[in-house]
């Protein structure tokens, strides 16, 4: 037996356990797909039909551009509005997190000022505060700001990130001091140096922070559920649950809606998972 064959054989037990486990973990996603392509009379047959029935028209029906075959009427769910709201909130929040993280991370890494250790300790201490615990006071704050049912309420509370500040600080600490000293000799200010030199080198941490917060914001549910009450500003995740009582009778369309709300973020995740998994593995941070 040659070496490659022996290595392959030694790996076999790993595959024997891992392949079924991986498939089992992926099954719910497959199931979402199967149900979304099923029909109302086939979806709850027993035993369940385990393969897709390819009723692609479920998607235009769920979207509201074709009539629902079971009722003959059109569904009125403002998907486009929900998607727009989610994309708007997620991109704005991400941009804000990047800006605040870069500035604060740079200050903590490269600038001298009184109270630096105290303030950094404060930032790390804030990380221990669970957002579930601050749900009620935060609601009161947002209410007093007059932000109920606005985009602001969905953006600003998530506009600064301990994870982001920490990651940017760690990155700026690795930049050689000579770089800044040379720039300073040329009359460069901190802001100018940060903008035209330091940030251009910071793509990996920036991408990690951006992906992480984009996913977090896309998936946000509880907070927007609490602070919004009209479709005009509601994100897709909250929209999905209003779907559940607007059309509780048709699980097929419900699954189609879930799939529509999941696919964009799945695409983002698959494209960027290297950065996301890397960032989580190195810092252990979680949503």
């Amino acid at each position: 037996m040659n070496r490659t064959a022996r290595t392959a054989l030694s790996l076999l037990p790993r595959y024997v356990v891992m392949v079924p486990l991986t498939l089992a973990i992926l099954f719910p996603f497959y199931w979402m797909f199967v149900i979304s392509l099923s029909t109302l009379d086939k979806v709850f047959t027993f035993p369940p039909i385990l393969y897709p029935l390819w009723h692609w028209e479920n998607f235009p029906v769920a979207w509201g551009s074709l009539p629902d075959p079971s009722t003959g009427s059109f569904l009125h769910i403002p998907w486009a509005r929900y998607f727009f709201n989610t994309v708007l909130v997620a991109t704005t929040t991400t941009a804000l997190v990047l800006a605040t993280s870069v500035l604060a991370g740079y200050a903590f890494a490269a600038m001298r000022f009184p109270g630096k250790r105290l303030l950094f300790g404060l930032v790390l201490a804030v990380y221990m505060v669970p957002t579930e615990v601050t749900l009620v006071p935060n609601f009161i704050i947002v209410k007093n700001l007059g932000w109920i049912d606005t985009y602001w309420a969905q953006i600003f509370p998530f506009g600064a990130s301990v994870f982001g500040i920490f990651l940017m600080r760690q990155f700026f600490l690795t930049l050689p001091k000579d770089l800044w000293e040379a720039a300073q000799l040329d009359g460069c200010s901190h802001l100018r140096y940060l903008w035209s030199i330091a940030i251009r080198l910071a793509a990996p941490p920036l991408i990690t922070i951006a992906i992480f917060h984009f996913v977090l914001s896309w998936n946000a549910f509880l907070w927007p559920l609490i602070v919004t009450n009209s479709d005009a500003v509601r994100p897709i995740q909250v929209g999905l649950t209003s779907f559940s009582y607007a059309d509780a009778t048709n699980p097929v369309l419900h699954a189609a809606g879930s799939l529509m709300a999941t696919l964009p973020i799945l695409a983002v995740f698959l494209l960027a998972q290297r950065y996301l998994v890397g960032g989580i593995a190195s810092t252990g941070i979680r949503g």
Binding site: T22, L191, L240, L266
Partner: protein
Amino acid sequence: MAKSAALEAPRGQARLRRTRAVREGLEAYAFLAPALLLLIVFLLLPAFWVFGLSLFRWDLISSNPDYVGLANFDRLLGRDELFRKSVFQTVYFVAVTVPVSMALGLLMAVLLNAKMPGRDFMRTAIFTPYVMPLVATVIIWSFMFHPYAGVFNAVLNAFHLPKLNWLDNPRTVLPAIIFYSVWQHTGYNVVIFLAGLANIPPELQEAARVDGARAWSRFWRLTWPLLAPTTYFVLLVSIIGSFKVIVPILVFTGGVGGTGSGGGPDNAAETIGYYLYTQAFYSFHAGYAGAISVLLFLIILAVTFVQMGVLSRRVFYS
């Protein structure tokens, strides 16, 4: 003349340096201001405020909250049967979810910790549930738990076991949600454990192998102790995360939009977090919800400190 000029120059430089330091300090505060402002207003301030809030009775609407002292805590700890139930159920939820998802996560990480084709694909696949929107995945899982045609009942049926009414039976609703949570969370543990395993020098494994140690004893004698910092970290994060569980309970038990039996049949899926949410935003008992928040906060802080204490005493390898 020459003498005073010589004295002036260093003094001028010192002043210049001092102005520059002051300017840099002000600039630094300006850089920090946006992040600190948001962190203070939306995290730090509410964290303190919640303690104050817990001393009031308030419906979130009227302009005058009533100061009631410790009455909220008195009721919560003394007379509130539902809260007591939610505490027990939360502990049950944590006590099952955490060990199961950690053991599974560690198993999968150890198996994936080798040069093998398909490793990255499997890691990504396992991690996917953790990043997908909770609402969408809960919706799919509730189809899988369907009392008549769900896939789990099909599995039971294949083994000639009776079907279960998973989400509508007080005895199975919480186990069903635990099952979902393990699925949802294990991928995170795998990623963290894989990162921890990558930090263990391969030479050690190699040396143990050369010495003839079997895989099982290599794991318990070498990998397990060296992985201790990672294990403690995952334990801490998992316990805290599970203690706070709200959204799966909310979506699984149909508490969204006011339909269905929120908290499960017979409140069998009520958890501390979910109770806090309903008290605040359905019953509008802001002060009472504040008191629940304070207790949840104290539990989480206690877990954190106990584990940090254990960490600093028992883990030598980080």
